[in-house]
Structures are given as C-alpha cells and as structure tokens.
Symmetry: D2
Subunit: 314 residues, 4 copies
C-alpha cells in the first residue's frame, strides 16, 4: 500500500537514507531505495509511494540539479518537509585494511571536493575513481574493486566494512538539505519559520524582467533565500528560476507575492511551503525579521481600511 | 437645505463659478460663492452645503496649495468629480474705456503670469495691482479703482463691464482643474478612465523611504500622474506627499497599491476616485495602457490560482 | 556697478530683506528691492545686479512657485546660498491705534494662513484684505487704507508704524527658505552639509518613468529632500520635476547621479550646490548618513579596482 | 614552454577537446587533457599551461558547478574566450556490435539525461552505469567492460570504436558552453557582442540585499543573462552569486555597474569580458538593444555636461 511507502535516493546506506531515518514517521514506513532522483520521484508520481526523500542542496556543492529540474517539470509534486543533515565522511575499508594499503579510493563525485584536502594530506598517492553513489562505492570496496570508499559511517554495517577514519570533511559546516516530496495536496501547516519554494518562468527576455520578478518579493518585504537560473531546455540562454523565500503561502505577504508573480509570469509552479529545518535538532535559525508593515495583522488592517474607504467610512 | 447647496470659490464671476456651471446638476442647486477655498470647504464640513467646487491645479501655475492643504488636513473630505476648464482672460473695462485710456490693471495674482506677455506687448505702461480674485478685480473696476481687470469673459455681465479684448492667454493650453469635494461617502462609480487622489505621510525620513512608497505603485503597474511634497507644518524639511494616480479604488491594482501604502505609511488619506475630466467636452485622454498582468481579470485569475495552491489543486 | 548690487523681493521691509541682511556680504552691497521674483531675477540675468535673494520655500505654505518656475525656465541662473529665516509676524499699526480700534487688516496672501488662528482669537470681526506684500500692507496702513498690517517687526520703523503685537505665528517652527541666485559660475564650495537643486524633464510619460528617475538617486544612495511636479506649460498633465537632494555636485555619488539623470532625461537643469542653512545661526541638521559604499573614498577605491581589472591586475 | 600549451577537461575524445579544436590557435598549441576541471585550471595557475578550456554551462543541465566554483575561489583566473558546441551523442561500440547485442551502456552522468528518452525507446533493457567522462566510457567499452558508450562521434577513432548510431540528443538545441581561462591580464578586446562574468558576495544577509545588487545593473540598463546562488562554504544558506551580464568592461555602463557592485559588496571577482560565441559558426545572437541613454556616447556626453556644470558653463 503506497501510503505506507517512502522512496529515497538509494542505495541503502546513503546520506539520504540517514536523513530519511531522522523523520519520526520513517519508523512506520516501508523505505524503498531508488537508483536515481527521477526514479524516487516517479514512484510518487505513479502512486507507488506516498513520498520521496531526495537531496536538493548541499552547503558545499550547491543545488542538486537533478532534483531542482525534476520538481520543475513533469507531473507536479510538492514539498512537505525538509531535512538538514550534517555531512561527514568515513573512510570505509574491508576489515584489516590499513591506511598504507590504500591505493584506490572511490565515492560519489559530490563527495570528492569534500574530502579532497584530506586525501591530499593523508593519501596523496591514492587514485580516485567515481562511483554512482557513496553506498555504491562501499559495495565496490566490498567486492574488492577499490581499497576504500568515502561514505557515511552508518553505511559500514550495511556493506560489511569498517570505518578506518571518521568525521572527514574539508569544509566546516558541510550540510545537505533534503526534501520530502509528495503529490500535491494542502501545504504543510504554517509554523512561523517556514520556507516557500517555487519555479518561475519569465514572460520574455527583456532587460529588467528579472528585476520585475524580484520586485514582487521586495515590494512586500519577502526575503529571498535562494535563486538559481535553470535551463528550460529550449536552448542556451533560456532560463527559468528556481526560487526559495522565507515565509508560508498562508502568510499574506507571501500569498500576495505569489499572486504578483502569477500575474506577470507566464508560468509559476508552487512547490510547497514547509517548516525550515535545522541540523542536529537545533531550532531553525530565525529568518530575517519581517519588514514593518508586512505582518498578517498589517495586511488585515490595511484591507479593513480599504473597505472603509470604499464605503466612505475612512 | 444643504443637499441642494453647492459652495464654490467666489465671488460670482470667477472661473470656478464657470466651471461649476458646466456640471449638469448645477442647474438644480443653489450655488453659493465663498471668499476662500477654506471657507468653501468648511461649509461642506459643517453641513451647510453638500459639496464645494474649488480649483486644485492650473496647467501654468501648478497645484493650488490652499486646496491641496485643506484636503490633506482637518475633517476629511472626498473628491467626487473633477472639471477641467480652459482658461482665457478677457480685459474687462467700464463701457466706453479704450485701450489707450488704461493706466492701471488688476486681477488675481495667479492671472498675472498668464497675461504678462500680453500686457508687455499691448499695455507696457499700465501698472498691475493684485486683487483678491479676478471677480473682485472686476468689482474694483466697476467702482472706478482700476481702469481694467483681467477676468473670465462671463464675468462682464455680472459686474456691468465690457470685454474690451477676449481670449488673452500667454500660454497655449492653459487649463485649470477643479474638484468637487463632499463629505466622505462611497466613491464615484468606476468609469475606466479614473483618477485616484491621496495624501501620504512617510514613516520616517530614511533615505529611500520615498522610493519604497513609489515602489508600491510601480510593483502593481499603477501610473502616477502627480506628486508634490507638501509641508506637514512640523517644520522645514518635513513633508507629506500629495499624489494622484490613474485608476479607481475598485481596480484591484489600485486597491492593492492603497493597501500597500497603508501598511508602510503611518498615515494615508484617501481623497477619492473619480472620472478623469477633459476640457471642452472632449473625452479624457486615455491613460497609459495598464501593464500586462495588472487587469482585474489577472488579479482574479491569480487569486484563484493561489486558492488552488493552498488547496493542493494547482 | 552690478557686482556690488543685490536685488531682492521687495519692497523694503519684507522678510526677504531681513533674510538678505543676515548675509555678511550684504553690509557691503547695494540692496535693491524689486516688485516681484521675476523682476529680482531678471535684474541678475540682465547684468544689473550680481545676485538676487528670493524666497523658495515656506515651511507652512510649501514651495514658492514663482521662484521654482523662474529658475526652471528662461536664461539659466544658479543658486549659491540659502538662508533660513524664522517667520513671526508683528501686527503693525499707526501710533496710538489699540486692538479694539482695528476693523481692517492686511498682509501678503501667504501671511494669512499663518495668522488665521490668531485673528480668529483676537480680532474675530476684523476684515482681511490681501496686499501685494507684507511691506506693501504696512505702507497701506501708513496711508490710512487699513487699520493694521501683518509684517515683520523690522518693517515698523521703515513705515513709521508701531508693533502692537509681536511674535504672531499659528504654526510653530514657521520658517522660510530663501536662495541667493546669480549667473552660472563655479558652484559654491563643498562644505559636507550641502544641498543640490535641479529641474528634470522626463523623456516621455510612460508608466514608471518617474521611478526610473528616482532610481538614479537611490542606486547611488543619494537622499532626496524635495520633489514637486511643476507644469511645463505644454498643457495639463505635463510636468517637469523640481528636485533637491543632499550632497554636492563634487560628491561623487551626486555627480554620478546627475550624469545618470542627464543620460535618461531629455533635459536636466542644474541649479546649484550650496551649503544647507539653518535658522537662528544653529548648525544645519546633519543630513542622513550616506549609505555604506557611497563615500568619495568608496568611489575612488572602486575606480582603482576597475582600472586594475581592465589592466589584468585585479 | 607553457605559452604554447593549453589544458582541457580530458581525457582525449571529450566534447571539451572537440570544442577546443574549434579555436584557430588550437592548431599551434600543445593540447593536454587533464582528469578534472580543477586539474585543468590548476595547470594554468601553476604556469604549466597558458590557458585551459573547461565546460561552464550546458543548455540541458545548467551551470557546471565545478567550473563555477573553481573560478570563484583560489588564485584568480580570467575568461578570455567562450566556445559554444552543439551536443549530440553517438553510441560507440566495438566494431561488429549490433544494437541487439547491447546489454550495458555507459557515459558521463551529465550525458544520461540527454539520452534517457533515446535509451528508453531503443534499448529499454540496457543497464546504464556512469563513467568518469564520456571518453572514459569509450575506453571502458574498448576494454570490454561495457557494450556501448555515449560520447561524441569524434571520440570513435581515438578509442578504436564504431559509431553505431549518431546524432542522439533528447533535447533539441542541446549545447554546451566552454570557457578558455588564463591568468589575469588585459581582457579580450571589445567586439560589441560581449559577455562579462563575475562572482559577487553580499555585504550581509539583510532582506533586499540581492535587490540592491541587481539594481546596480538595472539602474544602468545592463542586462543580466545568468545568476546562480553558489555556496560560500561557510554553511547552508550562505551564498555568493555567479553572474553574467551583456557587455564589456570597457562599455561605460558595464564599468559603472562593476564599480557600483564593488562599492556595495565586500568582494567582487571580475572573471573577464569576452566575445559571446555562437554554435556552428553562426554569428552570436545580438543581445538586447541597450536601453536609451546607456551608450558610451551618452556617458561621454553626460560627463561633459557635468564638467560644464562644475565649471559654471552648463
């Protein structure tokens, strides 16, 4: 039964699985790894699963384009949760392997820049070869194809390996943000520390079109947290924009902004409003304080004043 | 009975009276001249009259500050109509006076710049002295105090004078805009070629505050037609802003703009939405075409889309 | 010899004369009253005088349109100084007149709103009639035409009158700002607390044109202190803009703003940069602190960086 | 000798090599493949090569983050040329292999989304496994590890394979943009159809900071063609912005924009101005016409006018 099934970017032992397991409801769901972000999301689209957890942004590498583009196109999906996971790698080896024995290492291409300095310092002569995923790298080590794999420490048990070194991360504060996407339904409830995601296409490519788009946010005091040009597939230089802002679709300033975008853009895809997450169970950083005059109370007061003006009672 | 009484900036024979008489309902009203704009408006505030016609802008002299300031402060009034009157002066004299006899001329101070060139060309030696109004100048000519007065040709009969020269106006296209102000009630009906007037106070004097105010208009594609810094009376350098824009308070783009102003400004005084007038019975110049995405239909469609997003049906 | 002659808005005994006498150099100049702002300024244009002092703004009445429009058109003039004068009226009477004797009062029309409340409280039955200037009102009292005139206390001696009541002013902080205009030459030296005045015509009347104009200021962190739509004389609804901003033309942020305006507007008339004045000898209120990144040092550093980029040394 | 050596993202047979060979000077250079974008660029930084060609953007996948981030950090490099290459894949096999024989296919992960539909239609049962590069995939086919590889047709000869199917591309107009990066020196000469690239850090994370940044472009009529939030490495939610705009650093509107950014941002890295390329030898699409008032002639005229104002000759 699909309602009890969540897919995720697999295979087993990935950081995505670890992120998924931080969700309380994961304990009561069947967790099904998929070979790719599209496969994980298509399982939701097709009704095979209720939701899919996929990475969307990494504090070192930036946006995960496969996820951004899958959410931007095809059958609509919506984001209901985000999970923030601190990323640290373990160097997984077959039991008994020592550092000096390691001639080849593997891992997901995204892992490489995050362990590059550690490699240069500790295994300067080891040859890196990319694997399809960190977990897949672990499997290839198990099979003897490589001597060591960078992966989450939690993957060691799954693949019968040992963590030789742990907590490896070139960048401090390396984190990955994952989103739980499902079929469109009512957005997650407003918490007061929310994020809203969308994809916006511009009406045309006139100079200043992007400024007009952003003015819809700034005129209502809505803070952008993310913007990225994404290709529309119609050729080089044709973009849509993946945008995140602070606030919830039921916040009036956000609602008015979304309507403003809808009016000036040929296409706006609402991708959900959901609680902003934090890593390690800390409360989410408070967003920027809303600009004066942009609270729901301000909107209500202004609407009441307008009604009085229209009735001649102002 | 006040409902049948309109006041206007008198005395009899002013351009204001002529403007008032262009309104069809003037035929069935008691028209009462007042000595000043404040007096005309206070008669409305006090219930003595239903409405007052006062000049608000002259195409040569600019805004009529007495009117702007009276509407900005005190008991609120609202504008329901505007009248545009082409201004041309007649040189009024006692019967028998010839051009060569004229040593002194009078008229309202506002008339002077509009006849200055004509005076220099035709009566270079005549001495100008200001009168309290053009009509008052005519009265003073009648009484023999001056030889000639500049006033509307229609004032000749009232004061027993003759128009010696007519159609005098230094500036082509000299026009005065008058407004009919009454106590607050429902605004005039939307016509599609409307103007909305307001006075706006800024929250504080931070750099960019004026830009934020104007962004409320530009973000919704609402076209400003008039802006003037007006002193608040709190000292030099402290201003409020007299603003006119195209559109009607029931146009959604205007309504949202007004609410936006109300949210960011400590005080907004709505002065009415009313049909834009034209001189000489011509249809009013069409305003600028609304920016794409700012029609009422666009607003409705965007609101419906938002509702679908909030319901998970987008 | 014109270099030693200053004109001013007369007649003798006006506040303008009082303002002019606050300038140290006035002591060594021949001060010549003129009957109007245009006459005072035309004397400068014609070479008859070196400079003219005229009122430009009143904290109660707003801009002095005659001055704004004279400076906006015709042979260019430039502002080199401003003078701020606290305005309080004296009620001038012929020696021996008592309050109870006063049936008629006069004064400049601009004086009326500033003494209206005082009149209502102390001389409710007196009839007001406007004079061409406050000083002219004093003269008419001297001649017996009126019983009392509102004017500056300093005008009493000139016209052989007595100040019966002094320090009359409905509004607290009533001040008038005067400017000293001369033929174009190098602007006044930068003091760090300067004002720059200009008149700007828009390229066309497209929606947002005013916003584009103001963006030239906001993009460089230049603070507007005054904006007023002024008729261009080409018909109702056609305006140019009288604008003051903080800063001096030699401040780089102001210079770049002026060049930006010049590029997008068909006409910009620079009216001068000059020290901001204060009333009663107090130092001028410091303007808003410049936005970070807009000091001359920031401009110089950015230009040097650009040069390094262009030379491949950044 | 390094001046005669260019590196590129290898191995031999990649699209990058094909793009590099479209440059006339490539014929007289030693072309050295490197295993990664960082390796190719570091060879330039270290003086081993004069320049490196690396992919920066794909019309299907978007920005190449390895390149964006390498250029944003570390020892500065500058872009002198761009090359646009139409991307179509060939299915390379060992001689004699038929479509029905193919059980496993490989290629660079970026190739996968561009051939996914073709695969689903023609080889629905083939298993995909990623290779480190398209060329590396070809090598692995040569070695017998996979049955077929997606790569450029030009790679067939290098690896002793046969193109079984050619011109495979799911997306029409698939193109990749490559940049030739060298050590900082004078920018490429202005051609009139140029692009300028930069990375910009914001002063702080206040709401509207991004708007202020973009206003520097819009206020001077400079058209953005690309913007992407890139992580700064200081933690989730901390971004710099990779930005491309139309125009050349010696275009005055671009120069003033860059200086404006430099003034308000704590860090701006100029990455070069260079001719906009087109695919297949077509002339580059003309950029948007510059906004009126933003040509070099307009800037020069405005500067001359400013000088006249400052000299009192305006």
């Amino acid at each position: 039964m699909s309602a009890s099934r969540y897919t995720y970017l697999g295979p087993e032992g990935t950081f995505t699985e670890a992120a998924l397991r931080t969700l309380p409801e994961a304990a009561t769901r069947e967790l099904v790894p998929k070979v790719s972000v599209p496969a994980a999301l298509d399982a939701v689209r097709g009704g095979e699963a209720a939701a899919a957890l996929v990475p969307i942004e990494n504090s070192v590498e930036g946006g995960v384009t496969a996820t951004l583009d899958e959410l931007a196109t095809g059958t609509p999906l919506m984001i209901y949760r985000e999970v923030l996971l601190r990323i640290a790698f373990a160097l997984l080896v077959r039991p008994g392997t020592k550092l000096g024995d390691i001639k080849t290492v593997t891992g997901h291409p995204v892992a490489q820049p995050q362990v590059r300095k550690w490699l240069a310092a500790h295994l300067p002569d080891a040859r890196w070869e990319s694997a399809a995923s960190n977990a897949d790298g672990a499997r290839l080590v198990r099979e003897g194809r490589y001597d060591a794999a960078f992966a989450g420490e939690f993957a060691a048990a799954t693949y019968g390996l040992e963590p030789l070194v742990t907590d490896i991360h070139d960048a401090r504060n390396a984190e990955t943000r994952f989103v739980l996407a499902g079929r469109p339904a009512r957005p997650a409830a407003r918490t007061g520390a929310d994020r809203t995601s969308m994809v916006v296409w511009l009406r045309d490519d006139h100079p200043g079109a992007l400024m007009e788009l952003l003015q819809e946010f700034s005129a209502r005091g809505v803070n952008l947290t993310w913007i990225e040009s994404r290709p529309t597939g119609e050729g080089m230089g044709r973009y849509c924009f993946s945008i995140d802002c602070e606030g919830h679709i039921t916040d009036r300033r956000v609602a008015e902004t979304l309507m403003g975008l809808k009016r000036i853009c040929p296409n706006v895809r609402f991708l959900g409003s959901y609680p902003r997450a934090s890593a390690d169970g800390e409360p989410p950083t408070a967003g920027a304080a809303p600009r004066p005059g942009t609270s729901d109370a301000d909107f209500v007061a202004a609407a009441e004043w307008l009604a009085r003006c229209q009735d001649g009672r102002a």
